[in-house]
């Protein structure tokens, strides 16, 4: 039994390994699973950062800027940071009533829980702080994050204000134009007539020296529509550079993005711009604000302000990155050889991998994990099958050995059982010989003798067949088993032994039992074992009490329950739980395998076996077999 138990134990381990693998694959399939949610400090030692945007939420620049500020602050703070964001949407709602509403809203919302730092993200002007509720934000350090050609007002240079004033990168944009268009002859700068517009144009004029031999033309004092029309007639080897148009010839404000959108369909030459929005909307390229760099710098400033490492600082300059539009470059036939290294390429038709990196990688991970799981399960199944086959083989062998030893116990009484008919045959033939020597043999008597001989031969043959079937080494089979026949045959096998021991066997089978499927020989072994145990239990009993009863009845769930009851001493209560354990025995010469094997056999049939003490005397062993009613 020990190798059997060991084999079961061996089979258990790979199951655990496989289940661990399944868990792994779940985590791989959902990479976000298990990551802690954003920590809300709730007034602890975390920081509250309020980001106020002067423009709407959806502006592409704002989105990436907010992301980079958040990321940089969270990384640098070293403690939980809670973010609040508000958008004034000043371009679309530019009346005083809206400003008042916004101010009152912020005042009511943040009264009593001032942020640790207020960051103003505003691409257009510095007016926003004045539109915030002073009573709430009076003592809150202020950090500007802004790209503007405007000069910051002196008021901002006071204590308590820090800022990042990001200038449009005219220089690198012009250099990019030359790099992409080596034959460049002419640059048309479209600007406006406001002071701010004018300041930018002046910078471009200065920078034009970077492109020697290139003619510069400045369209600053005409309605945008006119500029649009003229753009359609520009000669080859020219370029358009869009400046700020806070006020065109007609007094209109036109954002760079819109300008690029309107010019691109008609322009005969490539358009350059200095905002990322424009480059996604028809402009070929330019040096644009790098939200990553700006975010990091702004975060550094904010931290310094919160930690009171400084009182205020305005940083002016450019933090730009080269960007160009892949589709527009194709349109103008600009070879990628000329593309600046490290440039951000917009509108590149992305590969499936780029578009669905997460999905693909997690998909691949899932498939991989599944494949591994399947492989592990297959390997495990092979091992388990081998172990199971081993167990089955060992069980069959063990069952066979115990059957043989059971038959050994029965051998002498079975020999008697065989000698009986053989003796009768011998006497009958001797008698027949003597009858035949008579002058007038009695043929009727001879006929009767022959009939008796045949009957006795069959009787002896039956005993041998029963023994041989028990001795047969075979695997567990599943065939219909007739319970009546099974019980009768088993009782017949045990009968001579019972007789020799002066024990009465009583058999009681309920009518109409359900059909059972299983292995007749193995079941017979179980029964025989229980019968012999019952008989052994009667060793010290007086004659009248020497009874072993066998009964079969239908169970509630349509199976069959077979009980073997003896009238012996019963089982000691503390041993009752151990009788089915291997090597457990109460007999001086017992091996302790019979009941263990019986249990294995019954369970292999899907049944259960149990032992109990009778209320009066002796013990009952019961086993159930599931019914097979079709």
């Amino acid at each position: 039994m020990t190798p059997l138990l060991r084999a079961i134990a061996r089979a258990r381990k790979p199951i655990e390994a496989a289940s661990a693998l399944v868990w792994c694959s779940v985590f791989l399939a959902f990479p976000g699973f298990g990551k802690a949610g954003e920590v809300l400090p709730g007034g602890g030692n975390g920081w509250k950062v309020l980001l106020v945007f002067s423009e709407g939420k959806d502006l592409p620049g704002n989105v990436s800027l907010e992301q980079s500020v958040r990321a940089a602050l969270q990384k640098k703070a070293g403690r939980p940071v809670e973010f609040f964001t508000e958008h004034m949407d000043a371009s679309r709602f530019s009346d005083e009533a809206h400003y008042r509403l916004f101010r009152d809203y912020l005042g009511a919302k943040y009264a009593g829980q001032e942020p640790d730092v207020l960051m103003i993200v505003t691409p257009r002007d510095f007016a926003l702080p004045q539109r915030l509720p002073a009573e709430v934000f009076r003592n809150v350090p202020l950090v500007f994050v802004t790209s503007s050609e405007l000069d910051p007002p002196d008021a901002l240079k006071n204590d308590g204000v820090a800022g990042l004033i990001e200038h449009l990168d005219t220089r690198r944009t012009l250099l990019l134009a030359r790099q992409l268009q080596p034959e460049l002859q002419k640059v048309v700068v479209i600007g406006g007539k406001s002071e701010c517009d004018h300041r930018l144009v002046e910078r471009i004029r200065l920078d034009s020296a970077l492109l020697p031999g290139v003619e510069f033309e400045y369209w600053t004092n005409q309605p945008f529509k006119e500029a649009q029309a003229r753009a359609a007639t520009l000669p080859q080897d020219s370029a358009i550079l869009i400046g700020t148009i806070f006020e065109d010839g007609a007094g209109q404000t036109i954002y760079m993005t819109h300008a690029a959108q309107m010019l691109a369909p008609v322009a005969t030459v490539p358009i350059y711009a200095m905002t990322s929005g424009a480059i996604g909307n028809g402009a070929l390229g330019g040096a644009v604000v790098d939200p990553q760099k700006v975010g990091e710098r702004a975060a550094t400033l904010a931290l310094q302000m919160v930690q009171k490492q400084m009182h205020g600082k305005l940083e002016e300059g450019t933090n730009s990155i080269m960007m160009l539009d892949w589709k527009v470059a194709r349109k103008w036939n600009i070879s990628s050889m000329h593309w600046p290294a490290g440039a951000v390429i917009a509108n590149r038709p992305r590969s499936l991998w780029e578009d669905h990196k997460g999905v693909i990688s997690s998909g691949v991970a899932v498939i991989l994990a599944q494949a591994l799981t399947i492989a592990a399960l297959l390997a495990q199944r092979t091992r388990r099958r081998r172990a199971e086959a081993e167990i089955l083989k060992q069980r069959d062998e063990l069952a066979h050995v115990t059957r043989v030893s059971t038959l050994g116990q029965l051998a002498s009484s079975l020999a008697h059982e065989i000698n009986q008919p053989l003796g009768a045959i011998l006497r009958n033939t001797e008698a027949a010989e003597l009858f035949l020597q008579r002058e007038k043999p009695d043929l009727g008597e001879l006929k009767a003798i022959l009939a008796d001989i045949r009957k006795d031969d069959q009787r002896a043959g039956g005993v041998i067949d029963r023994m041989r079937s028990l001795l047969k080494r075979q695997n567990l089979q599943s065939k219909p088993v007739d319970i009546h026949e099974l019980l009768n045959e088993t009782v017949a096998l045990a009968h001579p032994d019972a007789q020799a021991r002066q024990i009465k066997l009583s058999l009681e089978v309920a009518p109409g039992l359900p059909e059972i499927r299983g292995d007749r020989i193995h079941l017979q072994q179980v029964l025989l074992n229980l019968l012999l145990n019952g008989m052994d239990a009667l060793k010290n009993k007086a004659n009248g009490e020497r009874v072993v009863s066998i009964s079969a009845a239908e169970t509630m769930d349509g199976g069959v329950e077979i009980s073997v009851t003896d009238s012996g001493q019963g089982i000691e209560p503390d041993k009752l739980g151990h009788v089915f354990e291997p090597f457990f025995t109460t007999k001086p010469t017992g091996l302790g395998m019979g009941l263990a094997i019986s249990k294995t056999i019954v369970e292999a049939h899907g049944g259960k076996i149990r032992a109990l003490n009778n209320t009066t005397r002796g013990a009952t062993f019961q086993f159930t077999l599931p019914g097979h009613r079709s």
């Binding site: 002498s412 020999a415 008697h416 059982e417 065989i418 000698n419 009986q420 008919p421 053989l422 003796g423 009768a424 045959i425 011998l426 006497r427 009958n428 001797e430 008698a431 027949a432 003597l434 009858f435 008597e445 003798i449 008796d452 009957k455 006795d456 009787r459 007789q499 020799a500 002066q502």
Partner: protein, 212 residues
């Protein structure tokens, strides 16, 4: 064949009908009367001292087994030689059976010669036993005619005591002893002391005195 035969039958007691029937056939074909019984109890119900013959007895039977039947018969003082038959003989049962005076112990598949010889022997022995029993009964009847004093004197005579010694032991006259002895010889019609002694022993007299 099962009609009661008063003299010399072979009684077969075996729970195996088929074997009993075959055995009965063989014995009948060999010239014996037979009677078969399915169990020891059945045989005991019929048993009486008038039944003559021998018993072929199966050792293993449900209910009362062969040895127990033998015990019963010995206890009841019934003289009937028993030949035990068994499918397989085991030594303890054999020894026990033989000690109690079993005639023979055979397996059921013993040869016909063995079986018939055993039956003949048993039957012969039965006659012998019967005759012996009858002779003892006769002797006892004769000894019973002696008076108490004569029995006393006889007891001393068979132990080889002289008349003088007997007279001293019993506190009587030597002549009176002689008169008793003459009376004994006349009643028993046994002229010599030697014959007297032999018959007394045969009849089982004076055994308790440890002298014979």
């Amino acid at each position: 064949m099962n009609t009661l035969v008063p003299n010399r039958a072979v009684f077969i007691v075996d729970d195996d009908d088929s074997f009993s029937r075959a055995l009965a056939r063989l014995l009948q074909a060999s010239g014996h009367e037979t009677r078969t019984f399915g169990s020891a109890q059945e045989f005991l119900r019929e048993l009486n001292p008038e039944m003559r013959g021998c018993l072929l007895l199966d050792l293993h039977m449900p209910g009362l087994n062969g040895l127990e039947l033998q015990e019963n018969m010995v206890g009841a003082g019934i003289v009937m030689p028993i030949v035990f038959l068994t499918g397989h003989g085991d030594i303890p049962s054999t020894v026990q059976a033989m000690r109690r005076g079993a005639e023979d112990f055979l397996t059921k598949r013993a040869s016909r010669e063995e079986l018939l010889a055993a039956v003949e022997r048993a039957l012969a022995r039965e006659v012998e036993e019967r005759q012996k029993r009858e002779r003892i009964d006769e002797l006892r009847r004769r000894f019973a005619t002696l008076s108490e004093r004569e029995m006393e004197v006889l007891g001393h005579v068979v132990r080889g005591r002289l008349n003088k010694q007997i007279a001293a032991d019993l506190g009587i006259n030597e002549r009176t002893v002689k008169l008793h002895r003459t009376s004994i010889t006349r009643k028993l019609q046994m002229p010599s002391v030697a014959e007297l002694t032999r018959c007394a022993k045969e009849a089982g007299l004076f055994e308790e005195e440890g002298a014979l």
